[in-house]
């Protein structure tokens, strides 16, 4: 029998984990000598009460939606894809190649091409570790971590070598042609007559791409035969064997979809914001994707909400760093606590909850 009702499992557990993480972080803030309440107030003012704050927040959220979806899809197949960083980097390479070497008439064409490039490169980068896991039994966690480092090396190689414009000292590519530049929220708001909104914020159309991705992933996982097979394999490998679902195929396909999603993050950062390929543009988003997927229970809606939360934390953290003694790394601590309590210590939250529901049921 299900001990906890479904809603408790899906909502309560992450919520309580979040609350514990928040409380511990508050303690940390106190220890530094700042007031947690004041910190929260600052964060809210800086992100939610200003349109440019939303602009920054949604920019980060876009990244986290993509990487969170990526980790989620892999989780459904019971695979842990830690390689989001590396896959995103390669996605960036794909975007750069597409934007720099193909003359696009308009950004709406460019974004399609760049999406293809990002997805394909991300797919390949995830496909290699997947192949090794499926065929040679190499543990996907370690191979994807290694591939993260190798990707950084590859990116480095291209940015100080082949793709760097002559005479430039920056390890970065040339600026992408103007026809590939994506409209930002600011641009879109101006078009609709709202001047002075989202000023200078980096959020751009790829946010909507991320939303579309959420919907597509939902349809894929819960409405298609492939999604059915992915979930079945993730839940029970012996049962999948009985049903004739090939494990090699599922591992490869799930990871490649995951890699493609991670790669797509680069549309936001590389084509949307920096408009050229730079080093270290991923800024840990691949890892935050893990926290987002765990909090969002691998469901696109949960991922969206968790990505919003982390976008808020990220931008709020930047505000805190600006105005208080609290460094940006506090967000990393919160992220770690969330992962710890939703992922590894979940029994600590689940156990008492299940006992509570059991006793309620016995009493009622």
């Amino acid at each position: 029998m299900d001990v906890m009702p479904k809603w408790a499992d899906v909502v309560l557990v992450p919520l309580i984990s979040l609350i514990i993480a928040a409380l511990l972080s508050a303690l940390l803030i106190l220890a530094i000598g700042e007031s947690p309440v004041a910190a929260l107030k600052l964060m809210i003012e800086g992100t939610l009460l200003r349109s440019s704050g939303w602009g920054y927040m949604l920019y980060y959220t876009t990244n986290f939606i993509f990487t969170g979806l990526a980790v989620s899809v892999a989780f459904h197949a019971a695979l842990f894809n830690i390689g989001g960083e590396g896959q995103a980097m390669m996605g960036g390479l794909g975007v750069a190649l597409v934007c720099l070497f193909i003359p696009w008439p308009h950004w709406s064409f460019a974004i399609i091409g760049a999406s293809l490039g990002a997805a394909v490169f991300g797919m390949i980068w995830a496909g290699l570790p997947a192949y090794l896991q499926a065929k040679r039994g190499s543990h996907i966690v370690i191979t994807t971590i290694m591939f993260n480092f190798i990707a950084a090396g590859v990116l480095n190689f291209f940015l100080v070598g082949a793709l760097k414009p002559k005479g430039s000292m920056d390890p970065a590519t040339a600026n992408f042609p103007a026809s590939t530049h994506l409209p930002t929220f600011e641009d879109m708001a101006s078009l609709m007559g709202f001047e002075k909104m989202f000023r200078a914020a980096p959020a751009n159309v790829s946010f909507f791409l991320a939303l579309v991705a959420c919907v597509l992933v939902w349809f894929l996982i819960w409405r298609t035969p492939l999604g059915y097979e992915i979930r079945a394999m993730g839940k029970s490998e012996p049962a999948a064997r009985y049903a004739g679902i090939g494990s090699v195929k599922i591992i490869m396909v799930a990871m490649m979809i995951s890699g493609a999603l991670s790669g797509m993050m680069a549309i936001n950062t590389t084509q949307g914001e920096s408009e050229r390929l730079i080093l270290n543009f991923t800024e840990g988003a691949g890892f935050i994707g893990i926290a987002v997927a765990l909090m969002g229970r691998s469901h696109p809606l949960g991922v969206l909400l968790a990505a919003l939360l982390f976008g808020f934390l990220y931008q709020g953290g930047a505000e805190l760093a600006l105005w208080t003694k609290i460094p940006r790394e506090l967000i990393v601590v919160i992220q770690a606590l969330v992962i710890l309590f939703t992922g590894a210590l979940s029994l600590m939250v689940r156990g008492p909850l299940e006992r509570l529901f059991l006793s309620l049921r016995q009493r009622g």
């Binding site: 940390l28 220890a31 530094i32 000598g33 842990f80 830690i82 496909g127 290699l128 192949y131 090794l132 065929k135 040679r136 039994g137 190499s138 543990h139 966690v141 370690i142 191979t143 971590i145 290694m146 591939f147 480092f149 190798i150 090396g153 590859v154 480095n156 190689f157 070598g161 090699v248 490869m252 890892f287 893990i290 765990l294 003694k325 609290i326 460094p327 790394e329 506090l330 967000i331 990393v332 601590v333 919160i334 992220q335 770690a336 606590l337 992962i339 710890l340 992922g343 590894a344 210590l345 979940s346 029994l347 600590m348």
Partner: protein, 379 residues
């Protein structure tokens, strides 16, 4: 390259290999007992920070060392709680610990010292100074000494205490693991905890012991980085060493002496990378090697499934294309012109090697059988 330079590179390799070696042995104890530890990186970082912080504040490097070990043990305790008692996912726990360390070290150090996430530079009492072995020749006179004296003075002497400790840890680990009762039981619990349980030994106790040892060794590794290799803590200073140690562990097939070899090899790559920015190879050699690898892959997949042919064949094709590009772009300058091996290639070599080992192309790397799986007593 002359003999002295070689010695200096080897000397540097040893110093750079030391944190790797300690972390690798830490991971060895943990994984041999069946607990996957992805969190070596975080533990080293935490230890580096706390040891530097305490050493800077108290002026005593020994207190710093103890503090560093303490920090690492704390994180180990969390990992142990999550993996053993709560039977949670060990990978997720490790990942969380890495982030926790990365975040906390900066937040606390910023609050404590206000220097943007670093600790103040350590003065002489707060560092492990290089030790000169008796009879060694000081650095100034070394170029005049004979080869054996050079070997002795450069390579063997002049390291800080922790380097010698790390080297000693290898035979010690070997002895504990293979020659003591504890080691036998530890290895058994990583392979078949049911066998250990039915023999009346506590699986939980053994695993916590392993996690403890892991914490201590990681603590020493971190302390070394901050108080010997460098002089103070800097944000993210572990720089992926924890993962490289993991890679070395797999490369070494979970054995102590091979671990020494693997870590020295990786240390060598780092030393070379530091010292030589320009390694040159003739063009024909470069493209030749790549072409040979590519053809090797093609030949390998001749009779394999479609998937194998696409993936490995694609890889081979990629290598062949790179080889062709190199050849073409050097035709005018002559095929024996020297090209520089990209620096990133040397830097990525440890990671690529690990993947090759994991893929089973260099013999099978079989981890402890019950690694990563929480033990549940059968009724």
């Amino acid at each position: 390259m002359d003999f002295l330079t070689l010695l200096q590179v080897l000397d540097s390799s040893l110093r750079l290999a030391t944190p790797l070696l300690l972390a690798c042995l830490a991971g060895l104890f943990s994984e041999r007992a069946g607990i996957f530890d992805i969190g070596l990186e975080g533990k080293m970082l935490a230890a580096a920070f706390l040891s530097a912080a305490i050493a800077a504040t108290t002026g005593s490097v020994w207190l710093g060392l103890l503090a560093g070990i303490g920090a690492s043990l704390l994180l180990s305790a969390i990992h142990g709680l999550a993996s053993i008692t709560l039977r949670g996912d060990q990978i997720i726990s490790g990942v969380a610990i890495n982030f926790l360390a990365a975040g906390l070290t900066v937040v606390i150090s910023q609050d404590w010292f206000g220097q943007g996430g670093r600790t103040p530079p350590l003065l002489s009492g707060g560092r492990f100074e290089p030790l000169s072995l008796p009879g060694a020749v000081p650095a100034k006179e070394i170029s005049q000494a004979g080869p054996f004296m050079q070997l002795y003075s450069e390579l063997f002497s002049g390291h800080s205490l922790l380097v010698y400790v790390a080297l000693l840890m290898v035979p010690l680990t070997w002895f504990v693991l293979y020659k003591t009762r504890f080691g036998l039981r530890l290895r058994a619990v990583g392979e078949n905890p049911a066998a250990v349980d039915t023999a009346g030994i506590s699986v939980v106790g053994l695993r916590y012991a392993a996690v403890c040892i892991c914490g201590i060794l990681c603590g020493i590794a971190g302390a070394y980085m901050a108080t010997a290799l460098q002089a103070g803590f800097v944000k993210d200073m572990s720089a992926g060493r924890g993962f490289i140690a993991l890679a070395a562990l797999i490369f070494a097939k979970w054995r102590p002496w091979y671990a020494l070899g693997a870590c020295l090899l990786f240390g060598f790559f780092f030393a070379v990378d530091n010292r030589f920015q320009n390694i040159l190879l003739p063009a024909w050699a470069m493209s030749g090697v790549l072409l040979a690898l590519g053809c090797g892959l093609f030949a390998y997949v001749r009779n394999k499934t479609l998937l194998d042919r696409i993936v490995l064949g694609g890889l081979g094709l990629g290598l062949a294309i790179v080889a062709t590009l190199i050849t073409l772009s050097n035709l005018s300058a002559g095929l024996d012109s020297m090209i520089k091996i990209p620096v990133v290639f040397i830097q990525s070599l440890p990671y690529v090697l690990t993947v090759v080992v994991l893929a089973g192309f260099v013999g099978k790397a079989i981890p402890p059988r019950s690694g990563g799986v929480a033990y549940v007593k059968e009724k």
